[in-house]
């Protein structure tokens, strides 16, 4: 008995489970294990105004690309946001896709996300094909176009579905710093 307890303690101490993103029921989800032709991770936050302002754009992209087999994940990296807050936020802003809590920043670190909102497109084999802004509406926190002129995420998803690398494959996203949330 004593040996068994010690063994389990050692197990916990020596080989901790790698951090994982969780769905709203608390089950681990790994978007990299992916049967869809492409997947998109959208890093969002309930109280980041820039992230929220993109909700209708995210809904439009979902309506356009989900029927083509793209899996949509909404990744919430703020540990202050619990499952209820995230559910309420999704309903309030009409955000489609599967919500994940990434409070240990497993996905943040794995893909190198820096702000909300930021998009990462995964290819068929779970490889990162695009990381960056959704479009070029914001050029800096205080520099905003009335309308976007480049729809980078849509272009990246089209490229991923066509099996070619997107151009550009990385852009700078503007928004609320994820670094603050750890």
């Amino acid at each position: 008995m004593l040996v068994a307890i010690l063994a389990s303690l050692l197990l916990v101490g020596c080989r901790p489970d790698p951090p994982k993103a969780l769905d709203l029921a608390g089950n681990p989800v790994d978007p990299f294990v992916n049967r869809a032709p492409a997947a998109v991770l959208l890093f969002v936050q309930t109280d980041c105004p820039i992230s929220n302002r993109y909700a209708p754009t995210i809904a439009r992209l979902h309506a356009r690309f989900q029927p083509q087999g793209v899996a949509f994940y909404l990744v919430y990296p703020d540990r202050r946001e619990d499952a209820d807050a995230i559910r309420g936020h999704g309903q309030e802003y009409g955000l489609p896709g599967q919500a994940l809590r990434d409070v240990q920043h497993a996905l943040v670190k794995r893909v190198g996300a820096t702000v909300t909102p930021e998009a990462v497109v995964l290819g068929e084999r779970g490889n990162i094909v695009y990381r960056g802004r959704i479009d070029d509406r914001y050029m800096a926190l205080d520099q905003m176009r009335p309308q976007p002129t480049r729809n980078d995420l849509a272009n990246a998803l089209e490229a991923a579905l066509a099996g070619r690398p997107p151009d550009p494959s990385a852009t700078e996203a503007i928004g609320c710093f994820i670094a603050d949330l750890q």
Partner: protein, 555 residues
């Protein structure tokens, strides 16, 4: 070697400066005073910054936006004009925030935490004498570009009052970026309100509305309401509407807004009245790709004045704003300099102390525009030729100054002198607008009105006709055309246009009023009477005007 030594000293200076800051002792006083007035529950800015938890969850971002001086927002360059309510952090405060973040965001001793600031939940200036609100709530769409929407708000008073202060409450503070208010004594805004099926009406034009006797009525996020003074109040007559123009930003979901204003009355009519001088160019024409396009306007003051407030205005291509006075002795007195103009943070700036300018001083505005693809706010891709216009994708270049003549008796002289300059500027500008859109009926109508005011009746008639050719259902243009025809003794034609206006809008009091007078003049009193009755039903305040005009006619 020496170079390394210098570098090491500099680096150590940066990293070891002072003791480790804590939130409670060092950061909270900065944030509570400079950020929390907007970043608080129900405040105009997103998320509140009133606790250690919330500030540390934004720490890197706060360090970044304060270092880049995006926050607290303040556009004018310091010491080129000194203004009331200037916002900003000292270099030392900014460095303290950075040091706090780099050294692990310590919370510190709870005894060090200053008390939480408190804000008036209702009116900051106290209980208003009159509260008025939008007649119904407006629903802002979730998505898309910014919206400019105008709302006519009735200001119900039973006798003439004098307003020394107006406090604006946005209701839903986070969607209103700024508000500009004018006074409509004509009822025109009220008639336009709601015509497209939703409360208010679109656009950035104020139509018939005017400034409140030489006062700015504006609000931006974070602006403290100005208590005003009895000696500079503005007149509020019964039947007046406030025309509220809201600049709103969609937030990602539908939002409802019902803004209110509180008015504070003075005890007596004001002793002095300021003038509003608007410099600017309406012949703006910026080639596609031009990255450094300047415009200039100037006006020589005929009398001694004090400048109270200044309001520069340009749209997305505007890059730099300079305004100054050239004094008779050759010196330059700066009024305002904004190096990185941002349409979204426009404001009227009240000088900390009135700026005295002697007669003979010349007001100068010089604005630069960047219409290249490199301008990050460029609304066109690729860039296109951009001309003057009221839409946010057109350009503007205005500088409005609230000016108080040193001697009250100089006010009329100043206004007459400036009016001549202004009228020529308006006519040139509207002609330019028609070059771009020759069928714009509204522009034809406005230009016709300016020709009437400058005594060029034949040109006015020409543009009234064009306005009505492109929009035959335009009651205001029919009435104004009718008045212009009547001035040329073309009575029957005038009658026809007043009647045509009533076909489009049977409740149009001004059309009934003018038609009644016209018929009376033609000796058709029996036909005139029902029109006067209609006026009094619609606009009881016009009863006196009818009596005066009839008495005059009968003499």
């Amino acid at each position: 070697m020496t170079r390394y030594w210098v570098f090491l000293v500099a680096a150590c200076f940066g990293c070891s400066g002072g003791e480790t800051p804590t939130f409670n002792r060092d950061i909270a006083p900065i944030v509570f005073h400079n950020c929390a007035p907007c970043h608080r529950p129900a405040g105009p800015a997103p998320f509140d910054l009133l606790s250690y938890e919330n500030v540390s969850a934004r720490a890197e971002q706060i360090a970044f936006v304060t270092e880049t001086r995006y926050m607290p927002p303040w556009k004018p360059k310091r010491s080129y004009g000194s203004f009331a309510g200037e916002r900003g952090l000292s270099a030392e405060q900014i460095a303290t925030i950075r040091r706090w973040v780099e050294r692990g965001k310590q919370e510190g001793q709870s005894a060090d935490l200053p008390p939480l600031p408190r804000w008036e939940s209702e009116w900051e200036l106290g209980q208003p004498d009159l509260i008025a609100s939008m007649t119904s709530a407006y629903t802002l769409r979730a998505d898309g570009p910014d919206i400019f929407r105008n709302f006519a708000i009735p200001l119900p008073v039973d006798s003439t009052r004098y307003v020394k202060a107006l406090e604006f409450r946005p209701g839903n503070a986070r969607i209103v970026h700024h508000a500009t208010m004018m006074i409509d004594r004509s009822g025109a805004a009220r008639r336009r309100d709601g015509r497209d099926g939703a409360p208010g009406f679109d656009g950035m034009s104020f139509g018939e509305a005017e400034d409140a006797d030489g006062h700015f009525l504006g609000w931006t996020q974070g602006k403290t309401p100005y208590p005003g003074s009895d000696s500079l109040a503005w007149r509020l007559d019964p039947g007046t509407d406030l025309l509220l123009q809201l600049h709103m930003l969609p937030t990602g979901k539908e939002e409802s807004i019902e803004a209110r204003v509180g008015l504070f009355f003075a005890d007596a009519p004001p002793k002095r009245r300021p003038a509003m001088l608007r410099l600017g160019r309406k012949d703006i024409d910026i080639p596609a790709g031009a990255s450094d396009h300047w415009i200039r306007d100037a006006y020589r003051l005929p009398v001694d004045v004090e400048v109270l407030t200044i309001y520069p205005h340009a749209h997305y291509l505007g890059r730099e704003i300079q305004a100054y006075a050239e004094l008779p002795n050759g010196e330059r007195e700066w009024l305002i300099w904004i190096e990185d103009w941002d349409f979204n943070w426009q404001d009227d700036y009240r000088f900390a102390a009135p700026v005295f300018l002697p007669a003979g001083a010349t007001l100068v505005m010089e604005y630069a525009y960047d219409n290249s693809a490199q301008n990050p706010r460029q609304p066109h891709d690729p860039p296109v030729r951009v001309r003057y216009g009221l839409h946010s994708t057109d350009e503007m270049g205005d500088l409005t100054l609230q000016i108080l003549p040193r001697r009250s008796e100089d006010l009329e002289r100043l206004r007459r002198d400036f009016y001549r300059k202004w009228l020529g500027q308006e006519i040139d500008g509207y002609k330019k607008l028609l070059e771009a859109d020759p069928q714009d009926w509204d522009t034809h109508h406005t230009l016709a009105m300016f020709y009437m005011r400058s005594g060029q009746r034949p040109l006015a008639l020409e543009h009234f006709e064009l306005a009505l050719e492109y929009n035959p259902d335009y009651p205001e243009a029919h009435v104004n055309f009718g008045i212009a025809l009547a001035q040329g003794r073309e009575w029957e034609q005038a009658v026809a246009h007043f009647e045509r206006a009533l076909q489009s809008n049977p409740d149009f009091a001004e059309a009934h009023f003018n038609l009644g007078l016209m018929l009376e003049m033609l000796g058709r009193s029996a036909e005139a009477k029902p029109h006067f009755d209609a006026v009094i039903r619609q606009r009881p305040d016009m009863a006196e005007a009818i009596q005066q005009r009839l008495a005059k006619l009968r003499r």
